[in-house]
Symmetry: C2
Subunit: 550 residues, 2 copies
């Protein structure tokens, strides 16, 4: 490591993931304030929700601050392949135009996404070996294996002339992950011995006491559970949890059942894992049509759709309209997954539909069929004991998680603990950590296929229509501004008696209004329509008036 | 009891609550098929959700089948005063026009609702004493005290010439409910000895093993917890859980804190409880303005808003804009409540806002500060042991709860177990229980102030606008059907580049289209606008075309 220049600074800038679980985007800058070089660690999406962001599938950070500095961005490093860490690479890359670095399995999945986006030839996507290293300008990085609910999660040790950052990515301490590398505790401890300036760390489960548990225990328990079932069995799990897929395969094999993969992302992930040298012992799988030929007790379906996603395999099975999988009385579905907060209603709806078919529904509420991929408090304490950082930087959480994580770090004698917000630029060194700037930040909605700033208010306007409908009035005036025809009134989403009140109010206002001032008439009509709706209904529709001159 | 006529039947008809937790509405009919007399047990609402039913605060059962038979309805009996059991009495009463019966506390709350609806003089509201009886035609009813999370929950024992029904309402077995009556186990056991035809029973927690726990234990634990806190303390709980309010008052008193009630429904419920003779030991409470004068460690606020309701007291405190309550660093909020599924996101948002103020958030996740009001499986088993019914009739649950409840009943040797759906008319006697009819049923939305059938599709249409916005096009044609002016195009909730594509498509279609057939032009314009939006955006807006002839 070269000695730092006296004006060099090491800075940290989260643009996503600080305040939400999802949309992870962290940048590190090094150099004098006038000319920093940047690396980006993770570039993920957050999933939209119908209530808050109707019509928006995914949400991304607003990265215009870095986009304006794209010539100084040395690369994007992906810690692992979850959507909330890599899902925004393809959509945002055209604004960043920098190389992308990841370990083989992660790189394989990124490659698939770049291909779908038509960017494959343009993006320099470089594979870093598992346990490998990468140097970009002043940043010398080691990829240190850790455990999580996906293959190849990495803690990135980032050495700079002003100190060493340990960026955990998503992690847990699973002593028996059942697939992929174990946590490289020797190298993590060595970081602590070397001296860690800042630990930038997953906060997801900072409110959970104890330990997250091991995949090995899920394997035992899930295998036992499948052994008690006599009919068809379907297990739904996150496709990206490849160790879980092997657990399910183990349960199938133990009880003489053939495994059938159902759902596009199951096939995609299994292929990516095979392509990168994993799953050598994974059994040959049937397709769903073949599996339908087998006796009920000889088949185990591994399905997408654990979160109640309406287009996923399990939703179609529950609706009774999957082309190849039919479940009924005597069959069982095991949800080997947790409920992501906010998905309760669609998941319970799925349970209800399965019950209506006579299918038994087994979940982590009643059986030990899932462990979290994130560190509970005992694991966080272990990580702080290993790394002994000067600064704790909670990321990857809502404020309630990050605040509790910071409190925990303080209780573990970490001298400084930040609770950064998206857009806050912190100097980590030299000197004590300090907030030195707030840069533009926010959210971009992928609204249909169009990237739209949240601030433009499209979803707000659509929510207003969802709440109280819409009135569109067209006034037709002649060249002198006099009403030349009856106004055209369209209402949408408004009850019939309220419509009538609106029609009457518009008619009356049009008739009464002095001639010759169309703008004043438009405003009077707009107000009277809203007032009439409010009086008849107690709600004010979105009301728009257009003037057409003939 | 008179002997039944040979053509008499006893029937059961749920119109709400079978398939959802909420909107409870059960009817019992007696007599020959041609002339049944009816009683209704409970008449409640379900709360709307922005995603599924935007703009709808409450949902009620479609009761047109009974409304057409209103002259044969002998009365509405309310088991207890929760909204999902009494909330629809006032809005639906004009269709039923029958007397309403309830114990004093429940009647006081119903009275308040009738007053708000301007129905007070019209409705015959009769108070039944706690533990009292009521006979309506062939139905001889006993109100038997039980425990739940509200004052005066009743199991209704309904004797008919064809057998005895035990209708539990909502219940649990709390050996120390801390306020109100204990479970009258002697009378419930006596029903079993007398012989119960059908147990119509709460299914809410049929998936929960064990026992729901006692309010007495919450009292100890919550009091200890408050003792550890040094700043201001706010506790949020369901206002209707009056025993919990006394628990909170006990915690305040134990630690020398004055109690302040914050939120309209807290005041309303406390008043109703005092008016009906409860809360004799409840301390004098301060109003929030007075409490603001006290030192931080001398005050305890009891607030509405545990479910993240945006207009409730706690939401306003968290936003920092409550007129009299300001919380900050060193203060704590205790959520002495559970999260009702579907409310996770607003509740966590509330936690985040409190964290941003520096307030510590304590919940049932990390402290023992709440017990459920519904029976877990051990309690259900106890109830079946006491009553030993011939038929188990799970109600008050989603299908997943009711199906599991029926399975449990079967495992307890109950000979028959139904899983009724709303609108299914079951004959309970004579003979084995049998589905004999399916009557019109469904949901009514209180949309603003207008009652609308769900089937009319208003919320569906509004959700479509929430997803993809709206295009309203007005075509102006002359008497011969020729385009007389440029079309007026309004778009709402659609991104700018998509708007442009729509404008161009409409222009082009209008120009190209042969003159003289406005309807064909309207359809062509509608299609081209939607197609253009879909090509540019990947979504198809709601598109309406109006023709104005000048």
């Amino acid at each position: 490591m070269p000695a730092p220049n006296s004006r060099d600074e090491l800075v940290f800038l989260p643009l996503g993931g600080s305040g939400e679980i999802g949309m992870n985007f962290n940048a590190y800058g090094f150099g004098p304030p006038s000319r920093r070089q940047w690396i980006i660690v993770d570039c993920g999406v957050l999933f939209g929700r119908e209530a808050a962001t109707p019509g928006v599938d995914v949400i991304m950070p607003d990265i215009r601050y870095l986009a304006e500095r794209s010539q100084d961005i040395l690369g994007i490093i992906a810690t692992h392949a979850h959507e909330d860490h890599i899902g925004a690479i393809a959509p945002l890359w055209p604004m960043l135009k920098c190389p992308v670095y990841a370990t083989p399995f992660t790189a394989a999945l990124i490659e698939g996404k770049l291909e779908e986006a038509g960017l494959l030839g343009r993006v320099k996507l470089k594979t870093v070996p598992v346990g490998g290293s990468l140097t970009l300008g002043p940043f010398a990085m080691d990829f240190i294996s850790i455990t999580h609910s996906i293959l190849e999660p990495n803690l990135i040790a980032i050495r700079t002339p002003l100190g060493l950052i340990a960026h955990t990515g998503d992690w847990k301490i699973d002593p028996e992950p059942m697939l992929g590398e174990e946590t490289d505790t020797a190298r993590i401890r060595a970081l602590g011995d070397e001296g860690v300036l800042a630990l930038v760390c997953d906060s997801t489960n900072a409110l959970q006491s104890g330990h997250s548990g091991s995949e090995a225990n899920v394997r035992t328990s899930l295998t036992d559970l499948v052994g008690t079932l006599k009919g068809r069995v379907a297990v739904t799990a996150f496709a990206s949890n490849v160790a879980r897929l092997t657990t399910v395969a183990h349960a199938a094999k133990t009880h003489g059942r053939k495994l059938a993969l159902v759902g596009r992302s199951m096939h995609k992930i299994v292929q990516a894992a095979r392509d990168t040298g994993y799953l050598k012992d994974f059994p040959a799988t049937l397709d769903a049509a073949e599996a339908a030929e087998l006796p009920a007790r000889k088949v185990l379906y591994l399905c997408t759709g654990s979160q109640g996603e309406p287009r996923a395999a399990l939703a179609r099975i529950a609706e009774g309209n999957h082309p190849h999988v039919a479940l009924g009385k005597g069959d069982a579905v095991i949800f080997s997954s947790r409920i992501i907060p906010g998905n309760e209603i669609p998941i319970f709806e799925l349970h209800n539909k399965l019950c209506a078919l006579g299918v038994e529904v087994l979940t982590e509420q009643d059986h030990f069929v899932h462990v979290s991929g994130h560190p509970a408090r005992d694991e966080l304490a272990q990580m702080y004991a290993w790394t002994r950082p000067r600064i704790a930087v909670p990321v990857h959480g809502e404020l309630r998680h990050m605040a509790e994580h910071a409190r925990l770090a303080k209780s573990l004698q970490v001298p400084e603990a930040l609770v950064p917000a998206n857009g806050q630029l912190y100097r980590l060194a030299p000197g004590p950590a300090e907030l030195i700037d707030e840069v533009p930040s926010g959210r971009m909605h992928l609204d249909g296929r169009v990237l739209v700033a949240e601030g433009e208010g499209l979803t707000k306007s659509r929510r207003a229509m969802a709440y109280a409908g819409l009135i569109a009035i067209t006034l037709i005036v002649d060249g002198k501004g006099r009403v030349a025809a009856d106004p055209a009134i369209l209402t949408e989403g408004i009850p019939e008696p309220v419509e009538e009140a609106i029609f009457n109010a518009v008619d009356e206002t049009t008739r009464r209004h002095p001639k010759g001032d169309p703008d004043a008439l438009a405003e009077a009509v707009r107000r009277s329509a809203r007032r009439a709706a409010n009086e008849a209904w107690g709600k004010k529709p979105v009301t728009r008036v257009t003037i057409v001159e003939i």
